[in-house]
């Protein structure tokens, strides 16, 4: 059996299952292709491409953009992981639109003629549901803020060695959108060399001797950039249970303040 596994890459049962799968798909697919081959193939491949290569990247990009745009605003209020209060209503409303867009956008169809029902109400219904979702989300976020604030003012500021500390200190780290969250950390060796604050051009006093760009003679040996490359430096510990995690308490001591809302 060893030779088979080497040649095929899995055990013979795997091959049998695959043959069965493609035989059935071929048999059923013949019925489809017989009907209108090109159109059906376009629909089938379009389903995969449309979802995996268009819909998903758009969603990820939108999510990322929102995070980046809002992260740099100076927060006046104690911050909470607010992104989900935006994500949830947007995605739920988007799902409804994805399913019912022919009704919502009143795409001409047989519907009004065959049922004597109107296409008019659906846009309004969708907007009302969307509005309700955002309202519920906004109320939930407001409640969350309120609880945080009440908690902070009702509690004696904890002291350490007799020194008063910031009541929101426990919130200081842990989430990218929180105050004091480290914005950027050098991940690659060539970044760590950091030319910031140094003269920008050769010839200026104090310009480093070392060449600045990879590929120039004398530039230090290229280091592996990705975790899967051999020789990539050990990952920095990111979580408290990973030794050697830096000593300072980065995670909230009081769970009430950091826990997601109860309905989560």
């Amino acid at each position: 059996m060893g030779w088979f596994k080497r040649w095929y890459g899995a055990n013979p049962l795997h091959l049998l299952a695959m043959i069965g799968c493609f035989a059935l798909a071929w048999y059923a697919g013949a019925g489809l292709l017989h009907a209108k081959a090109v159109g059906v193939v376009v629909w089938f491949a379009g389903a995969v491409v449309g979802h995996d290569l268009i819909l998903m990247p758009l969603y990820a990009l939108a999510d990322k953009s929102v995070m980046v745009v809002f992260r740099h605003r100076p927060p006046k209020l104690p911050t909470v992981p607010w992104i989900n209060y935006l994500r949830v209503p947007v995605v739920l409303s988007g799902l409804l639109l994805l399913i019912w867009f022919p009704l919502i956008f009143r795409i001409p169809s047989r519907f009004p003629r065959t049922t004597d029902l109107s296409l008019d109400p659906y846009l309004g219904h969708w907007l009302v549901v969307t509005g309700a979702l955002f309202l519920v989300s906004a109320v939930a976020l407001a409640v969350r803020f309120r609880r945080l604030r009440a908690d902070a003012s009702g509690r004696q500021a904890p002291t350490r060695d007799g020194e008063a500390t910031d009541p929101f200190q426990h919130m200081a780290r842990g989430y990218p959108e929180q105050v004091g969250y480290p914005e950027w950390q050098p991940r690659y060796p060539e970044q760590q060399q950091g030319y910031q604050g140094q003269p920008g051009y050769p010839g200026q006093p104090g310009y480093p001797q070392q060449p600045r760009y990879p590929g120039r003679p004398g530039y230090p040996e290229q280091q592996p950039r990705y975790p899967e490359q051999p020789g990539y430096p050990e990952q920095q510990p990111r979580y408290p249970e990973q030794p050697p995690y830096p000593g300072q308490p980065q995670y909230p001591r009081d769970e009430r303040n950091s826990a997601p809302p109860d309905w989560w």
Binding site: A28, F44, V48, R110, F111, V129, P230, P252
Partner: protein
Amino acid sequence: MTGPVGPPGPFRRSFWRSPIRGPWLTSVLGLALLVSIPVMFATGLLSYAAYNPGLSPLNDETPGKGLLGFYLFSWPTHPVWLYRVTQGTHVTLGLALVPILLFKLWSVLPKLFEWPPVRSLAHALERGSLFLLVGGAVFEFATGILNIQTWYPFPTSFYVLHLYGAWVFVAGFVVHVAIKLPVMTRALRSRGFWRELRTNLAQTRPEPPDAGYLAPVAPAIPTISRRGVLAFAGAGSGLIALLSVGQSLGGPLRRTALLAPHDQPVSGPAAGTVGDFQVNNTARNAGIAAAETGESWRLTLGTGSQFGADGQTVKATAALSRADLLRMDQHTASLPIACVEGWSTDNQTWTGVRLRDLAARAGVTSPSAVFVQSLQHGGGFSRAVLSAEQIMDPDSLLALRVNGADLSLDHGYPARVIVPDNPGVHNTKWVASLTFGS
């Protein structure tokens, strides 16, 4: 874990940073689909059987099905809510599964960019079967969802696409389950389900990088917990179901289906009358002229054989006016209308002549089938063939009245067929002739 490094971008594992992606989350979403997809498939196959496609080519929307019709059986007439429940489940569950499917596909997206793209023959075949699985899933959901909104941008008949597409999808599904079941079981055991539900955002940690390419090697800080993602997907399913199930439950709950095609009370002349329940083919759409349904209308009874096939024979034996029909024994049955599109009505009280009495009147004592022809001019479902079991049911009627009043034109005046558990389109309206096979 280490392997050849792909070109920059999504082909590198470090590109995928979501700290909650991982085999456990994928397996929980997969488990939900593993339970639901067989229900979808079974209710879909039942709906195909409900058309009795084996009875006559006239009933068969997919004549090329061949062996795929192996399971067909004579569709029963009881319990009378059967088709209402199976098809309501098929459509509402299908809608509710959309978020679960999308979240599941999101959770496995890095695998699309696996590097190297092909490791072995086995790997290549498996990825091919995933094309059937993902393509089939999105194709089936898309065709089904567009069909219930009666928008048909498809290249060919919905029935053809949805039936054959389902078998292609199931081929990919079965083999995917067979291969991934052990992986799924292992992943589910790797983290306690209840413990994960008690884990808040602050405690959320990435799953360790796995051989399956799902968990991140360079995770970002989490912004949502795993239980948050599950609640998110569940909330999506619940919301979609809540906003559409009313069209299948009917009654006052119909108004709660804010986003579903049959959420509105009937408008027009029927509004507020005893006949104001949903239709899916108006007389206007069917091209029924008032003159055809007036005094001159006659129901032609006949005998024949081989309906819809080459050797079809039809012999007329009687012609009855509506008054003649009203003079025959009248029977009342309480039956719903249930559409293949998932909507249905409450039980309506139908009054008319039993089909088996009409068979006797045509001169056939034990009919093998009946060929029902409508006045409709062209279009799908202007005719249907019903089985012996359906004819002989005491509740199977050629209805003349509904809820105590004459049928309205949209409900099939002067006479329509109503058979328990029959898909809506086979309850032919504006009946012109009934030809019984002997």
